[in-house]
Symmetry: D2
Amino acid sequence: MTVGPVEIGGVGFVVVAGPCAVESAGQTEEVAAAVAAAGAHLLRGGAFKPRTSPYAFQGLGEEAVAILGRSGGRHGLPVVAEVLDTAQLASMIDHVDILQVGARNMQNFPLLRALGKVRRPVLLKRGFAATVEEWLLAAEYLLDGGNSQVVLCERGIRTFETATRNTLDLASVALVKQRTHLPVLVDPSHATGLRELVIPMSLAAAVAGADGLLVEVHGAPEAALCDGRQALTPALFSDLMHRLPPVLAAIGRSLHPRTAAAPAVRAVSP
Amino acid sequence: MTVGPVEIGGVGFVVVAGPCAVESAGQTEEVAAAVAAAGAHLLRGGAFKPRTSPYAFQGLGEEAVAILGRSGGRHGLPVVAEVLDTAQLASMIDHVDILQVGARNMQNFPLLRALGKVRRPVLLKRGFAATVEEWLLAAEYLLDGGNSQVVLCERGIRTFETATRNTLDLASVALVKQRTHLPVLVDPSHATGLRELVIPMSLAAAVAGADGLLVEVHGAPEAALCDGRQALTPALFSDLMHRLPPVLAAIGRSLHPRTAAAPAVRAVSP
Amino acid sequence: MTVGPVEIGGVGFVVVAGPCAVESAGQTEEVAAAVAAAGAHLLRGGAFKPRTSPYAFQGLGEEAVAILGRSGGRHGLPVVAEVLDTAQLASMIDHVDILQVGARNMQNFPLLRALGKVRRPVLLKRGFAATVEEWLLAAEYLLDGGNSQVVLCERGIRTFETATRNTLDLASVALVKQRTHLPVLVDPSHATGLRELVIPMSLAAAVAGADGLLVEVHGAPEAALCDGRQALTPALFSDLMHRLPPVLAAIGRSLHPRTAAAPAVRAVSP
Amino acid sequence: MTVGPVEIGGVGFVVVAGPCAVESAGQTEEVAAAVAAAGAHLLRGGAFKPRTSPYAFQGLGEEAVAILGRSGGRHGLPVVAEVLDTAQLASMIDHVDILQVGARNMQNFPLLRALGKVRRPVLLKRGFAATVEEWLLAAEYLLDGGNSQVVLCERGIRTFETATRNTLDLASVALVKQRTHLPVLVDPSHATGLRELVIPMSLAAAVAGADGLLVEVHGAPEAALCDGRQALTPALFSDLMHRLPPVLAAIGRSLHPRTAAAPAVRAVSP
């Protein structure tokens, strides 16, 4: 499948990077510039944030969607943002290149049904307590609805272990690659919750067969409004982008070519 | 809190019973008559069913809501049905006495926000991978939105154990009763997935401090379109209703008085 | 099966109580006197303690076995203590009425093989990550070895939930009672890790079909060398013993009669 | 640390391979010859097998230890075998180069205490329900006892996922490498339970920071007496050994040099 100039699931390994949450135009632009310079292929950022507590920062909503789209456009990066509800879909569909379904919504079947009917790629995160079988059946809701542009994303499952935020299940990535034709990304940021584990787990994901990464980057993680403990700094992200090519080469893959022009996808979409 | 003639969270122990899914008017009426005769206080039934596979029976939708309401009215039982999405809310609000948020939607925050604004009680099931803290924070979305009519429902959590469908966490019931003022029901049907465990777990739930039960009953479980293995027959449900009073008496509680008249609640609601 | 004057698995509900660890003769005697006065049937106490850290209190070992035996004898209570290793067996067998296999050793097969050959009842705790099937197969090692005096004990399983120490799986108790003839006790102290949940979970265990309890009691829980947070005070234990009879009566059972004389079992054993 | 000519935890990546269980001299010799030819550094094989059911094959015991030692000696491979109980230690210590503590015994503290006193390296597998903290504290029992020759081994943890036998927790490997100086191996065979996942997870483990692998190989997996579904054939093992070097090179490591001579370690040991 392709998103503007980016093919996901081909030989080229794809890196989606950006802040957990869009906090401001300045913060987003700073991160977008940094990840574009380091070679990221798509820009991610949370607009509507699903937060455990109603008193936590809930995201900037539609304003964030606009900010994200502008920074993505400026740096030639198609954008990925999470949609939480069917009612948000109309306002997001024309401004987002890939619609993300988060872990908590993997079995939000009305949302999956609605996304099955749009002509926009969907990134389907594995629920943190979902089996591989349930994950693939959730994807089936999208495929059965007529949307074949589905990317899976492993982001760790909930277990008894508390040393990491979740338990990254890389065997599921290898398993899904053997059993389906769908591309699979890995989100090492949410999976581990610890910045210092993001690079080793990114490399391990590449070798396990992932088609790309979804990585959180923040200009000043300690001041982030959301999940700062797991965000890479721009310098660490750049380090990751330097370490990926030799590892990919060892298994016969390579980084996807850098995208030079602004994404045209949204101009032509439904 | 009260739903028509029924008080939930008082001294009286409340039993919600009915089929997993509304399959037809006849099946629903048969179950409603049986559970009313045995002393149930409310009627439950699935209209929109959240199913793991898109190819499984998805519920009769609005037709089911109407069927459920008619059978409830005929037998003087307020009705409980699950709402899956904010978009379904408008069509359900006038026909359902308690809106249920299912385990998969416990962290569907837009839905919780919407339910925080209605004047209708909400039954909030614990997510099957939610901690007690997350469950109470999900309830906080409802309370913070202005809806104080919240009933919690423990329905088992997902663990490594496969002998039962889920692992019923009765300690969480005792814990929540000590830490909040909210009423708590227990759903032994989904928690165990096995008919033969429903009665002992119902009695244990009562003694652990639950304010009531949510129990699945089907006239012919082996022919049920959904979860037949965990449904009580009418005869077993009647057996349960005979066993509850002495156990409740032992801890100073009793079954809620039977409701004699049709529920008036929907006539006066928002 | 019988242990001195106590029958486990009959109509009478049996309560085993005592400190997590034998810390001194005085502390043990104080607890033994209190639980005997309140109506306990057996005395438990840790001699060799399996501790996660090598730097934590490891138990008084053989001295503790002797202390426990003396206090038990003084109050007419047969004693239960955990054996960690085949090498400890010889020194414990003549001083302990029931040999406990702890959760960490449920699949210590050489130990199970050795215990299959002794003429002494064995209390087999469920491993904190063991399925019901694995638990019953562990019991099968004892039965297959020739020891039919096996009592099972559910003590909570490890899950993602952190509000309680473990997750008490009462459905497993009902399931095991339906599938085997073995008596089953419940340990609400380790299962919950919280004193305030011990009484409600004890009552729930009784109603779920358990044949008895294993409860930790300490004269001064805040000063306990081990697991004080989950220990009942003597006053709370007495409260529990007053609350059990009506709940048991509601399901057609009763507390086992109090044991008046010193246990004769050890005098006649192998 | 070194075992004969093999250094574990240095730059060289170490591969331990062999059958789940020693079934016969012929089967062991066939596997030993194959893995030696393919470049393995140590030979593993189960002598005393911890089996869930007492009716499953329990291993050949001391005979297996002798068989394993002879095949290892013939091919210049130091041998690794599991010890289940302190009582087995005396008969194994002179015939085994690395004593393995299996997942079920990670918290068998008397065994750890005994192994803390021997002059023989210990391979400590993570318990399938052990946190990283508990695993490191179990290692502390060995270190505190005076044995500094400790190798850790991640072999998957028990979670709700049933598509794989366990869930391989590679983040724990990266975490432990950052927090301790101990070498860490990964056992992709038990972790996944599926032959087709062993190679991708082996490569991922190498990139995640593991110091080596523990891999099951069987000449005829479909006829294996134990865990055949997860065993590599000799051909697949050879494939793995060809794929490792480029991946290791990408992260600045390499396979440990092949061991040419018979291990001298046992001749000089304690």
